[in-house]
Each structure stands twice: as structure tokens, then as C-alpha cells.
Amino acid sequence: MAVRIIDPSGSEPPTERRATAARPTSLAGARIAVLNNGKPNAEHVVGRLGAHLAERFDAQQPVAVEKPNSSRPFEAQVLDRFRNFDAAIVGVGD
């Protein structure tokens, strides 16, 4: 015998799907932001990756920013600074 039950997972998120930016064909000259989320060694990880992209793919030297508390989102005005960049590298991890 079946029972009719209410799904407990709530409604679909109302998030508007955003299109990802058009991909560049090359990283030569690209402006890349590296966002350090405040976790130990995150600055090194994103910084080194950005530097490698500059060395190997001729991207510009990366522009770095950090949030001091990894438990809070980046400030909106910090993210606004990177609107005109070609790419950004962020991290999730520990």
C-alpha cells in the first residue's frame, strides 16, 4: 500500500541562472584577479596559479585581494573592482 507524502525538500531556488562570460581565445594579455578567501595558504595557492598563468600563457601579472575572515563573503565593493577583468580565480577548500 502506498502513502501520499509531501516532499520535504522545499521549492526550487529562485536564483536567476546567469550566463557565463564568453571564453577568451587566448590568455595573452588577459587581466586576471586572484581572490584569496582567507584560508591558510589560500593566498599562496591563487597567487602562484596567477603567476604561472602570467609566465606560461603571457597573462598580465595577477591582481590580488583577500578577505580577512574566511567565514564571511567578499564585500560587494571588492568584487565590483573586478568587473572589467577577463578572469578571476577563487577557491573553496581548506
Binding site: 502513502v3 531556488p13 591563487v46 580577512p68
Partner: protein, 417 residues
Amino acid sequence: MIATDSFLPLARAVARQEGVEALAVVTIPHPIGGVEPEQLDGMLSAAVDRVAAALLTDPEEVVTVPAPAVHDAPGGVLEFLAFAEDRQWSDGLPLVPPTEELVARAVAAAGRDAGELIGLVPPSNRGASVAAVAANAVMAGCPPELTPVVLAAVEAALDPRFNLQALTTTTHPVTPLVVVHGAVAERLGFNSGPNVFGQGNRANAGVGRALRLVLQNIGEARPGRTDRATHGTPGKYAYCIAENTAVTRFAPFHEDRGGGAAGAVTVFGGEAPHNINDHGSTDAAGILNTIAGTLASLGSNNLYLRGQVLLVLGPEHAEVLTREGYDRRRIQEAVHAHPRARVSLAGVSAGNLDRYRRTAPHVFAGVPDDAVVPMLDAPESLLVLVAGGPGKHSMLVPSFGTTEAVTVDVPAGGAGA
């Protein structure tokens, strides 16, 4: 996005939350912390080609299939539990099937519209409607009259000050502690007395568990995936107490915070409670010394993320304090200023000191490496209430740090319906 490999499910969830579900994620081996930065260089060098490819390649579109609003589930007990397990709805314990009839009764007891949206639950940002919260309350074993308390707890947990996004995804062993205050606690039979943090009371167990199921089933906080807790904590099954106002002259906690006479709930982003055993003191000074000494801890998030700590006084400790004229404010001031409520930084590693100085420069910047620093930023950082039964124990509940307790009224009308 760069993710350490064990954090990939969380990286995907965060991307989806921001509306860019298809965002390119490159994984690197976990962990990146706890080693010298240079030890990561070989791995980073090897990852660069994949990062470049991710930046240059169009991501694949992700298709998601919405869940149906109702299901025809098997009626047999074991078959239903397997059905729920398949959908990751369970915390591991048996669930009551959220039948249309039981959920309708739970919604009716709240006196609110089934479709009313309480808020979005991170990290999924799925919508917590009254009906969906009620379904989780039913599954947790709550009788209908508890629904308004569960709804108030969910509303409190979704307040931005609580920072649920971080609490629910962190490696730290934190979970919302629900404290029920005032008339509603008495009317609905919550336990504020002996074994208050423990088992044995349906209201405490049901409300605590219902909130957890909401976080798991609506918020999709799934252990080992988006819920990144290293160990978790037993409170992730259920963590709910009631305030004991029968034995002291303290103002009720919620009234000090603007709560109404019908009662309220507070959510506090806490670790497991740590005991404060003081059988020997016969005066306030002795008890305050033990409280302050228990508070001071190098391993606590509260040291470097600061924030609130909850002191749950046992009634017998509270009686000694009140007998000597201590009210909530005087206790807060006494513990904040106490010489034992401080920690020495002597021997703290350079890596930790660097981290502390970044997260709490107002405490750690400009002090010597062997300075002695206070645990609490201000007297108000210590929240104080009374709960528990006879005995010479109190409890200290450290918090996640980057979180604030939130108190929400439970409406007088709804719970009686």
C-alpha cells in the same frame, strides 16, 4: 574556481547558489593548509594547464530536474525508510512519513498559509515554505502543536546575522542550538530541568531534530559533501533546550532581547556544551573563577574569530550568584574582566599568530608574541541564561565565532490551534 578535491561538492553548490551552476572547477589535492606554502608549489605548477584550459573552454550546461511536490511512497515501515534513505532525507534515525494528512495538521497548528515562504536555506537556497518545514517537523516526530516553534527556529536560523551559510558548510563542529523561552516552553512541555541537554523529552528532541532535517533536506547540507564538518557534533541529531526561569530572579533571556510574553526561541551557533564543574565553591567569586577558567581555551574558534559564548548556568550555581546580588549584567562584566578569562599566546605557533592577527587585529595586532589576551571582546559577548536541574554544574557553549544569536517570538495564537 579552484577546489581542494574533498570540497568539490561544496564548490558545485556555491556555484549553483550564485546562478552559475556550470562554472568551471579545477580540483587540487586536499589539504592546502597545515603545510609550508612552498610544499604546494609542485602541485600548483602541475595544475596550471588545467586552470588555463578551464578559462579558455566553454563550460558544459548543467540540467537539473525539479523534485515533485508529492510522492506515492511505500506504506511499509522498512520500505518507507529505504525510500527516504534513497532520497537522503534521513539523519540516520527512523522518520515518520510526512503524509498529506499529518502535514496538513501541522500547517493548521501554525495558523499560517502552507505556501508562505519562510526563507531560502543555504547552501542550496531552496525555499522553506511553511508546508516544507511542517513536513520535516512531522518526519522528526513533532506533534502538530510544535510546528510554530519549529517555524520560529527556522526563521531565526535564516536571519543573516546568524550566518547559516558558513555554519552549515564549515569544518567546525557547530550546529544551531535552539533555546525555547517563556510561556510557550511551559505550555508545550519542553524540558528546562534535569538532563536538559540530554534525551527523554519529545518537544526538545522533536524541535531540535526538525531544524536539523530542514537544514539537511531543504538546505541540502549533506555530511561529507556540502556539510564539511571534520567531526560534526552529537547535537547535529537534535540540540534544543528550554530556559529555566523557575528558580532564579534573572530576567528571562528573551525579554532582555525584546521578546514577547508568549515566548520565543533563540538560535545560537554552538559547539557541544563543555561542563563547568564546581562542587567546592560556596560563594560567587569561586564559581566565577571556575567559569572564567573554563572559558579560556586556545582551541576555541572564539579566540580568533571572537563573537559570542553562551553560559548556561545550572540553577544551583545561579542561586549562589543571585544570592550575592549578581544579575545577568554583573555576571557578564565579572567574567569579561576576570583575570582567568584570558589566554597566554606564549608558545602559539607563528602560523596561528599570523592567522589571529588577520582575523582579529583589534586583539592580536601590535601585541607581543607572548601577550596575554582576553577571550571576550565585551561583557555582552557572554550570553547568560539558566537551565538544568539540581547539581553543581553549569555549561559553557563556545560558538562558531562569526555568528550572532537570534531571538524570534513564537506567536501566542498559532501554537494552541
